[in-house]
């Protein structure tokens, strides 16, 4: 009768086999490679980042160059289309592919900068509320409730319109508006970390509150923080596109995907591809960022490691 034995290290070395146990990082890497959503999301992000970084090399034309002679050219798969302008041109005769490529710069730049402002505000608030509790928590929770009650898009549109639309204004307005999810998530995670023994140990060892927060609490928040950061970049990109679509975001002639959809709206009847193309670009990037965020959450979650 065969019995199944547990192979211990000693047993293995007796048999002349070397058993290598994977490190936590290797396990995480393995589950990353196995997670389809994570892979798709990471691939999309890498492609878009490369597209933005290499825009001057990749773009076949100047995204700003207007020409009457090349107005409204069809795409390569339509009748009379040519490889000279693979995605055709818009109503000003600008190469659509080049504008899409340069548009990725606008989306990523705004997405990341807005996220950084929002993360700074939201994480600080969540950290203080979760760690100190009591009155601090009451104030922060109240601020979160107030922020959620304000209609974000409407407030952003109004403030951008009054301050004058520019990329800088859009970044600051959105950054100061969408810190809510950071605050909510970080507050909850800090509340979970606070009663941990290593926090008590640090306190017993006489560490200052600042040191406990920076050296003990924040490193243990990182997983959750990275997930929210990824998802919030997506939200910021979506909001920028919506603002630009409403004409209160990035100003023409900057190639922003949301603005391109807005400009193509009048030609919707005859040239629907002018709307579909930037929309697909936006959709793929947002889908990628969301899948990446969900993927990181699954991969870094303790139960996901087994």
């Amino acid at each position: 009768m065969n019995t199944i034995e547990t192979i211990t290290n000693e047993k293995a070395s007796e048999l002349g086999i070397e058993v290598v146990f994977p490190t936590p990082n290797q396990i995480m890497l393995r589950s990353m490679v196995r997670h389809k959503g994570f892979l798709i999301g990471a691939t999309v992000l890498i492609i878009v980042v490369l597209m933005a970084a290499l825009a001057p090399v990749l773009a076949p034309h100047d995204p700003y160059e207007q020409s009457l002679a090349t107005r409204m050219l069809p795409t390569v798969w339509q009748e009379n289309g040519s490889w000279e302008y693979p995605l055709g041109t818009d109503n000003m005769g600008r190469d659509y592919l080049s504008r899409i490529i340069y548009g990725s710069r606008v989306s990523l730049l705004i997405g990341f900068l807005v996220m950084i402002i929002a993360a700074t505000i939201g994480t600080t608030m969540g950290l203080l509320a979760g760690y100190f509790g009591g009155k601090v928590d009451m104030v922060v929770s109240f601020l979160i409730t107030v922020r959620l009650a304000l209609p974000a898009v409407l407030v952003a549109v109004a403030v951008v319109a009054l301050m004058g639309g520019s990329t800088k204004v859009v970044i600051f307005v959105l950054g100061f508006l969408i810190w809510d999810r950071f605050a909510v998530v970080i507050r909850a995670s800090t509340q979970q970390i606070r009663p941990m023994e290593y926090v008590a140990a640090a306190k017993a060892a006489g560490c200052s509150t600042r040191r406990i927060l920076i050296a003990e609490v924040i490193p243990n928040l990182m997983n959750n923080l990275i997930v929210v950061m990824t998802l919030e970049v997506a939200r910021a990109i979506l909001l920028e596109a919506a603002l630009s679509f409403l004409g209160m975001g990035v100003q023409p002639p900057t190639p922003s995907w949301g603005l391109m959809i807005s400009e193509a709206k009048e030609f919707m009847l005859f040239e629907p591809h002018l709307i579909t193309i930037p929309g697909i670009a936006l959709f793929v990037l947002l889908l990628g960022m969301n899948l990446l965020g969900d993927g990181i959450r699954d991969v870094t979650a303790p139960e996901g490691r087994s």
């Binding site: 109240f142 409730t145 107030v146 959620l148 009650a149 304000l150 209609p151 974000a152 898009v153 409407l154 407030v155 549109v157 109004a158 403030v159 319109a161 009054l162 301050m163 004058g164 997506a234 979506l238 596109a241 919506a242 679509f245 409403l246 004409g247 209160m248 949301g258 959809i261 709206k265 919707m268 009847l269 629907p272 709307i275 579909t276 929309g279 936006l282 959709f283 947002l286 889908l287 969301n290 899948l291």
Partner: protein, 305 residues
């Protein structure tokens, strides 16, 4: 229960006051309202005249109190563009937005409840994956783009629905789908996880063990409990949808307050913009209050807290 309601009501009032302050300050501090009202080509005397006429020369706190107290009494000022009371303008338009919000909410629930339940009782099957796919796609699709695609398909190519306007029920079909689709992922996820949790509980096993039929167990015992959190989410989502109506209404030129806000921003009609921000926030505060109360009524455990 009464203590709970009073507590919640106090919080809602405090939030309402804070929100009114923020919406007032945001719009007042983003630029000089006198210049915005007078227009770009106005002379400095004209701007000064408007400043004193509207009271913009007073301290900000006095202006806020003046505005806030009047608003609490229902007086939202006058629109310099229409030369009509703001209250009257909003009253004419709010019906469209509320209709759209209600339709979108119903649409989202009709889609997500069966999908969420099916996904929960058949996890990791084709159904479950389709539901998940719809949720993931829904979160990544910009609503304004989705709306335009619907217009291209149903209004331009198939010609079965109107492109824009708000004259008949047919004008609401596409905006309802656009706005409602945006809310389905949240409902679907909540129902799926709620249903799965309930289905694995002891009382469902007991109900099955005593020989009750599966549909009865599913609908009477399980769904009833899984739907509780959905009710409160519905109130919150309705608030979000009304806030997001500015985008959808602009796409379809639906004459609700979202579209009005967009137009008013374009023509610097500040009292109207301010009133709409305030109104939408107040509706949200009211809906979250309602959702807390509903939660307590439906789930006795919360009342004890």
């Amino acid at each position: 229960m009464l203590v709970y309601i009073l507590k919640r009501m106090g919080l809602a009032l405090a939030v309402a006051v804070a929100v009114s302050m923020v919406s007032f300050m945001l719009i007042r501090m983003s630029g000089d309202p006198a210049i915005a009202l007078a227009g770009e080509n106005a002379s400095s005397e004209e701007i000064e005249h408007i400043r004193t006429q509207y009271g913009f020369d007073r301290p900000l706190i006095i202006q806020y109190l003046d505005w806030g107290l009047k608003a609490a009494g229902g007086d939202l000022g006058e629109s310099p563009y229409f030369h009509l009371p703001v209250k009257q303008i909003l009253g004419d338009r709010i019906g469209v937005t509320l209709t759209l919000g209600a339709c979108a909410l119903v649409f989202a629930l009709v889609i997500s409840i069966p999908m969420g339940v099916l996904a929960a009782i058949r996890p990791n099957t084709w159904w479950d994956r389709t539901a998940l796919g719809i949720a993931v796609v829904g979160q990544a699709m910009p609503s304004f783009w989705f709306g335009l695609i619907l217009i291209i398909i149903f209004a331009v190519h198939l010609r079965i629905l109107p492109v824009s306007g708000s004259d008949s029920w047919r004008h609401y079909v596409l905006p309802t789908i656009t706005l409602g689709y945006y809310a389905t992922p949240a409902f679907m996820r909540l129902l799926r996880s709620g249903m799965m949790e309930v289905l694995s509980s002891d009382y469902i096993r007991t109900a099955r063990a005593k020989g009750l039929r599966w549909p009865k167990v599913l609908f009477k015992h399980a769904l009833r409990n899984a739907v509780i959190p959905v009710v409160s989410l519905a109130a919150v989502q309705l608030g979000f949808m009304l806030g997001g109506s500015i985008v959808v209404e602009s796409v379809f030129a639906l004459h609700g307050i979202g579209y009005l806000a967009w137009e008013s921003i374009g023509r610097s009609d500040l009292p109207v913009v301010q009133a709409i921000v305030l109104l939408l926030s107040m509706i949200y505060v009211f809906l979250t209050f309602l959702s807390d109360i509903l939660n307590a009524v439906l789930d006795p455990r919360i009342r004890m807290m």
